[in-house]
């Protein structure tokens, strides 16, 4: 049988239908206002340079007594964890009675190009932890790291374990040389020193292109053809636009920190080899003895599951637990499935250790 059961008639009809949807889509987009993101109520409690530490307003009467600090990645913006009503990990955590803080790194500018990982980890993160500890009159707090923020949290915990009660890592790369790590293969032979010396801060667009180029045909083309089919539905269109806004909202990367991260983590795989140097200290994950919950996504194309799972073999913690989420790198924060799974699991795990 001929596999192509498409006649000129059906083809013309298909194109006609597509055109109609496109025209309707334009109407929908014309009627939409600016896209709002970040749904949960919050207030800034500490500011330093471009960084803002936010405290989210409680949504329950009773709360876990140990505050939770979310350390986001330097790449993209943290509102992905609080995208919209019903698609917000932070909202879920608040509903579970957690007292949530979040570090928003802001948009590094030219004056930030010399910031190092030492400044980020032993400087900014440490001062944020101190602010929260002081506010709550505590010696330690819980930390939840997201992606690169997870790697930072691991470094921080290794260097300042006394200030971390429990650590949660989500889609966090640990072993940067696993078989399916495309990003790692992409940067393995790049002369990072030359890149940073030439560009100073690394343009966000350049990183974006790197991420999109991992699945170029789907992410740069097919996605927009698919979009035409949902553009007649304003709600769905808004959902798409929020995500689109987030994807292309990419801050530049402070040059020196980028240099250290790419070389020590991606190229030298220093986190598992205990060769990462932050300031004057070597990060030894083996020193970490506190309870750890490691959440990874099964279909993550940016941080392969194997890369995250490697953490178990690196730490000394006797209370290590892994949680596999059946979705992708972003789905773990915004999908409906994630809302039902991640915040309750985190809250339960923490309450058992508070």
């Amino acid at each position: 049988m001929n596999p192509f059961q498409v006649t000129p008639n059906t083809l013309a009809e298909e194109i006609h239908e597509f055109n109609s949807k496109l025209a309707k889509g334009f109407e929908t987009l014309s009627n939409l206002d600016e896209i709002d993101v970040g749904v949960s109520e919050k207030e800034p409690v500490y500011k330093e340079d471009n960084l803002v530490l936010y405290h989210f307003k409680a949504r329950t009467k009773k709360q876990n007594s140990v505050p939770l600090l979310i350390v986001y990645a330097l790449v993209n913006r943290p509102y992905m964890a609080d995208l919209q009503d019903g698609r917000s990990m932070i909202q879920g955590l608040l509903d579970e009675g957690l007292d949530v803080y979040l570090i928003d790194w802001g948009y590094p500018d030219s004056a930030d190009k010399f910031l190092t990982l030492d400044d980020y980890i032993n400087g900014y993160i440490d001062r944020c932890v101190d602010v929260i500890c002081e506010k709550h009159k505590r010696k330690n707090i819980n930390i939840l790291g997201i992606c690169q923020g997870g790697a930072f949290s691991l470094c921080y915990t290794s260097l300042h374990q006394e200030k971390v009660k429990n650590l949660i890592t989500t889609v966090t790369p640990v072993d940067f040389h696993t078989k399916h790590d495309l990003l790692s293969n992409m940067v393995r032979k790049i002369d990072i020193d030359l890149v940073v010396d030439t560009l100073g801060n690394i343009p966000g667009d350049m990183l974006n292109m790197a991420f999109l180029s991992l699945k170029p045909y789907s992410l740069m083309g097919q996605k927009y053809v698919d979009l035409v089919n949902i553009l007649d539905d304003e709600k769905k269109a808004l959902n798409f636009l929020r995500m689109e806004k987030w994807i292309f909202d990419s801050p530049d990367q402070a040059g020196e920190a980028y240099r250290e991260f790419l070389k020590q983590f991606y190229q030298e795989n220093g986190l598992v080899k205990s060769t990462v140097k932050i300031g004057n200290d070597i990060v030894d994950l083996g020193k970490i003895e506190i309870p750890i919950l490691n959440i990874y996504a099964l279909h993550d194309h940016l941080v392969p599951p194997d890369s995250s799972k490697a953490l178990e073999g690196c730490v000394s913690s006797k209370d290590y637990q892994a949680l596999e989420f059946p979705g992708g790198h972003i789905g773990i924060y915004v999908s409906g499935k994630a809302q039902k799974m991640i915040p309750p699991s985190v809250a339960k795990w923490l309450s058992e250790r508070t």
Binding site: M1, N2, P3, F4, V6, T7, P8, N9, T10, L11, A12, E14, I15, F18, N19, S20, L22, G25, F26, L29, S30, L32, D33, E34, I35, D49, S110, A111, D112, K113, F114, K179, L182, N185, M186, R188, K189, I190, D191, L194, V195, T198, L199, P203, D205, N208, M209, K215, P216, Y217, S218, M220, G221, Q222, Y224, V225, L227, V228, L241, E244
Partner: protein, 415 residues
């Protein structure tokens, strides 16, 4: 007679044509280039889309963000139309063979073989002059490579973006002599590069020569990358061909243009994914980025020299300023934390002094009271003994000073 044969035989082509034009009318387009497959620019539906989009974007009040998104949608829709138009030719060809499985297989094989030869030709040509670039012919002169390029055109390459600097003229100059172009130009390039630098501007001449060399190196890697991508497109089409033949064998159908498009995307993703896992990709990508950066860095240096000579601010100077600014920020942070610690210590000392003087006052008051009471005792033997009054005071004082000492220890640890 099969259903499909009946369907195709019964097609009222005039009606089809009318529907086709109706669809196009929705774009306010003039069907001037209909059914002239070739480059994407010649595609009728694309032109129609382009025309419609220009009208819409002028007249709409859409926000910049949404307009930007819609431009991406329109760009990809144009690609989708282009594919549809070209595949309609393939479908039309296959429909002639009706149910004869072997004929369909032969036809599909022939068409995809044409395509593969075309891509090989492309790869070879890419090494020659840009003017001679001939993408070959596939399914009635489809310019697939052009399509491939256009597929990603909505997204500016970050490198292209980065090159939009004051050094553009230098870039162009260097690119003009880069490899992979007209052999005469290559000869000219080699001649220029073989001239020794002399005189007062020797260093500048050297830099320009180096820049040209770096531009040529980058261009070579860029060509290699383009060839690799072309090869991937070829592999993806091979995969697609196999899948279509598999479907032919199994009696499975592709019942819409969208399914064909999705199959094309899927084939490309699979092949691409395999490629980016290889060492070859890693190495080529490294060379491509590194050569581009080396070229940019030297361009910057040349620009900086020019700016310096004109007493204009340079990136070098800005970097130095920003470095000093950064170091000052660090110093301020250290000073602030020291100041905070000192303040805490001083506050604590004050608290200690205050509490000591309060204790001292209390003791004095109580001693006074005790004296008074002793006097009273002497006056009246029935009153309580004095030590019973002073004892608790002494104890309390000791306790208080111990706790102050403990506080001081905490502060010391903080230091």
């Amino acid at each position: 007679m099969s259903d499909y044969k009946r369907k195709t035989d019964q097609i009222d082509w005039a009606d089809y044509q009318k529907k086709y034009f109706d669809a196009l009318m929705s774009f306010n387009a003039t069907p001037s280039s209909f059914n002239k497959p070739g480059s994407i620019e010649d595609s009728f539906w694309n032109n129609a889309m382009e025309h419609w989009w220009k009208t819409m974007k002028i007249n709409s009040g859409t926000s910049f963000e949404n307009k930007n998104l819609f431009e991406k949608i329109v760009e990809q829709s144009r690609n989708y139309y282009f594919m549809s138009e070209q595949f309609s030719n393939l479908i039309e060809g296959i429909s002639k063979y009706n149910n004869r499985k072997n004929d369909v297989t032969d036809f599909v094989n022939d068409k995809f073989e044409d395509l593969k030869s075309m891509f090989l030709e492309t790869s070879n040509n890419l090494k020659e002059t840009s003017e001679n670039l001939s993408w070959g012919k596939f399914i009635d002169e489809v310019n697939w490579a052009d399509f491939q390029k256009k597929y990603f055109d909505a997204y500016e390459s970050p490198f292209e973006k980065l090159s939009s600097t004051a050094s553009d003229n230098i870039n162009n100059f260097a690119n003009m002599f880069a490899g992979g172009i007209n052999p005469d130009m290559e000869k000219l390039r080699d001649q220029i590069l073989s001239i020794p630098s002399v005189g007062q501007n020797r260093e500048t001449q050297d830099k320009f020569q180096n820049l040209i060399k770096l531009g040529a190196v980058y261009q070579d890697y860029s060509n290699q990358n383009q060839i690799a991508m072309t090869q991937l497109s070829q592999d993806a089409l091979e995969l697609m061909r196999k899948e279509i033949l598999r479907m032919n064998d199994k009696g499975e159908e592709l019942s819409s243009m969208r399914q064909i498009y999705d199959l094309w995307v899927e084939s490309n993703e699979l092949v691409y994914n395999e490629h980016v896992h290889t060492k070859e990709y890693s190495e080529l990508n490294g060379k491509l980025v590194n050569s581009r950066m080396a070229f940019m860095k030297l361009s910057q240096e040349i620009n900086e020299d020019i700016f310096s000579s004109l007493n204009l601010p340079t990136t070098r100077a800005m970097n130095e300023l920003e470095r000093r600014h950064y170091e000052l920020r660090k110093k301020v942070n250290v000073l602030e934390s020291e100041l905070k610690a000192l303040k805490e210590k001083s506050d604590n000392k004050n608290t200690v002094t205050e509490s000591r003087s309060r204790s001292a006052n209390m003791i004095a008051t109580k001693k006074k009271k005790a004296k008074t009471s002793r006097k009273k005792v002497t006056k009246s033997a029935k009153k309580k003994p004095a030590n019973k009054v002073t004892k608790p005071v002494k104890k309390k004082t000791r306790k208080k000073s111990r706790s102050n000492a403990a506080n001081n220890d905490v502060i010391e640890i903080k230091f």
